[in-house]
């Protein structure tokens, strides 16, 4: 909306209540909302890690080993532990939102939420198992 409205006889006045910058700290549900939004930072961090991983891999065996050592430092373990919790939080809230984002109707009736969310969880477990198998089968 434009702030500079053209002049009229009854020019409307803006009434906008100021909202505190810390509005999200007042109520638990708002706080959870902001936490969920912040999970995106850790998603981005994972992508950065992936790019560094591929780069180390293409540089050769020495760089790859150095990269793996770097991941063992306490700072990285702590950061990745926190990131893992946030990414888990993202996945769970994402799957639970699926019924709201895509309501499925069968014969005019809306399917219960859990019937839309459940297949996501099944697929999640299956995909995770396949990835784990791919990476662990050699051992």
């Amino acid at each position: 909306m434009k702030q500079t409205a053209a002049y009229t006889l009854y020019r409307p006045k803006w009434y906008r209540k100021r909202v505190s910058t810390y509005w999200w700290s007042r109520q638990w549900s708002y706080f959870v909302f902001i936490l969920r939004e912040l999970s995106s930072i850790f998603v981005a961090w994972f992508v950065v890690l992936t790019l560094l991983f591929i780069n180390a891999l293409s540089q050769g065996e020495v760089d790859f080993a150095r990269f793996q050592e770097w991941l063992k430092s306490p700072l990285m373990i702590a950061l990745n532990f926190i990131s893992f919790l946030f990414v888990l939080f993202h996945a769970i809230t994402w799957f639970n939102l699926a019924p709201a984002a895509m309501p499925v109707r069968v014969r005019g009736k809306r399917l219960p939420d859990w019937m839309v969310a459940a297949p996501n969880y099944v697929a999640w477990v299956a995909i995770s198992a396949v990835i784990a198998w791919l990476l662990l089968r050699g051992n």
Binding site: E37, V43, A44, V48, A65, S83, A91, I131, N139
Partner: protein
């Protein structure tokens, strides 16, 4: 005629990235961020990893894994800054930094994956 909004397109990237992130990132981050460095499980060695990553299908998956979640981040982070910190006056800068970052990351992923030995 009203200007077509770009927002639905960005939202669909956000949504697709959210799906990819939810399905793929937890297991990968658990393995590579915790289980392998802490010695709970044995990581695949250099040769096995290289062989796996060089496979065209893996490269495609890795490209998608890097690109879409970055657009997911860009969209969500942009609105976190809008709503959380209420810095709407920095609108243009934030938009450019967020989606620009996602584009840069996507290009980097493409270059890295194509130049694998």
């Amino acid at each position: 005629m009203a200007k077509r909004s770009f927002e639905p397109f960005l939202w669909s990237l956000f949504s697709a990235g959210g799906v990819v992130a939810a399905f793929l990132i937890p297991v990968l981050l658990f393995l590579y961020g915790l289980a392998f460095p802490l010695g709970w499980l044995t990581a695949p060695g250099y040769r096995e990893t290289l062989a796996l990553v060089r496979h065209p299908l893996t490269r495609l998956v890795l490209f998608v894994l890097c690109s879409l979640p970055l657009f997911h981040w860009a969209h969500r982070f942009r609105f976190t800054l809008y709503d959380g910190l209420q810095i709407k006056h920095l609108n243009e800068v934030i938009t450019v930094l967020c989606y620009g970052g996602a584009v840069v990351g996507t290009v980097l992923a493409g270059i890295l994956l194509l130049s694998l030995p």
